[in-house]
Symmetry: C2
Subunit: 234 residues, 2 copies
């Protein structure tokens, strides 16, 4: 308590502006001491919390922490116009007996394309590569769930003759379905937002135009690389 108070006094005298304190879960007894000395929460995840305080008498210019979770949907097609669909064992889609594309959330630090490959493999056992990102959706759940970006990933199987293996804990059933049968399911027909996304998927399959391809390149001016998604070069 007194150490924090004297540090804050010193930091203010030195003209410091934003102060961040990182605490692992086993030091959570220090959280109330920080908060009673003017700190507020910034960000937390399993294993740690970060608190922050803006010292000047001006409006805080500290950025907020992560606001979005990111999800992927795997649109896997075969040359005959069929699409891979699954029924889930639990959750809202299961209640509707909805046939949907395999979906999942990015793990922390994971790329969109890697997550799509991983989720498809986990749910169906199938090996595929990202061909193009076709469309995406932004939703705001509000409260502490934050916002959501969902990317529709058009995937191509490494080998069209692979057999699937169902993930027993999550997946009730798997099949190939003509894409029109998929989009004509009652729940989608009731939903303007999903109808538009489904139409964009059909247009992409019919024309092979639109969508964004993945490329990974070096940053150049410092070490490291970034994955970018850019419209396919004509």
């Amino acid at each position: 308590q007194s150490i924090l108070e004297s540090s804050l006094k010193k930091w203010k005298e030195e003209g410091k502006r934003g102060i961040w304190i990182y605490l692992p879960t086993h030091m959570s007894h220090l959280v109330p001491i920080c908060c009673s000395n003017g700190f507020d929460f910034h960000f937390a995840k399993k294993g740690s919390v970060v608190l922050k305080q803006w010292l000047p008498e001006t409006l805080s210019r500290l950025p907020h922490g992560p606001t979005h979770q990111v999800g992927v949907g795997c649109m896997v097609t075969k040359g005959n116009g069929e699409m891979l669909v699954v029924q889930e064992l639990t959750g809202p889609a299961a209640r509707y007996k909805l046939w949907k594309m395999p979906t999942g959330l990015l793990d922390p630090g994971e790329n969109i394309n890697d997550a799509a490959v991983r989720e498809l493999k986990e749910e169906t056992g199938l090996d595929a590569k990202l061909y193009k990102i076709l469309t995406f959706r932004q939703a705001h759940s509000g409260g502490d769930r934050g916002s959501d970006l969902f990317f529709v990933c058009w995937m191509k199987l490494i080998d069209e003759n692979q057999e699937w293996t169902k993930q027993e804990e999550e997946i009730a059933d798997i099949r190939w379905m003509p894409i029109e049968e998929f989009t004509q399911q009652e729940l989608w027909q009731k939903s303007p937002v999903y109808q538009e996304m489904n139409d964009a998927m059909i247009r992409a399959i019919e024309t092979d135009q639109g969508g964004m391809s993945e490329e990974t390149h070096e940053l150049g001016f410092r070490p490291g690389s970034n994955t970018i998604y850019i419209p396919s070069k004509m």
Copy 2:
């Protein structure tokens, strides 16, 4: 302490699986009590923290919280092939005297297109509308900053004859620049990832192909709407 212990016992007997506790900052004295009873951090933002615990003896199936912050860059063009660029007062780009597009982070709950319109207005005073999202980048800073999605938004001015007004706190200078002069700056030339993004921008301007348009539609099966980004219909 004893209330929490007996509640946990009851929840386990009832077969509850995931437990979430939401605490506003002024109740931060309860954080250590939760952590010493098996809770861990899930998510936090200014004003509150959320803790979680998975009760069964199995692997936790609780989703992680938000992992990404989302940024926008505003590519504003004029009919003569010029692009709006700014120099910042502080930060890495200022050290390089880099001319860049206006950029900024989404506020919590904000749409990509709204953030692009707001950031451009804040930094330059100019009113514009989103035309298309042209390309995007995913970066992983690691640690507690999480990951980053950055969307390049092609914007069109509401009125091409508007005058800009510089945001005094952040912007050192504003000008119109031929897009080739923008992309030929030394820092971009050193960076394969930015070269590819810049090339995609030039290709989009030259051909007006590619990119994703914004549409907002009703969800239909429950109240609310989502914003989606889909390839422009030909």
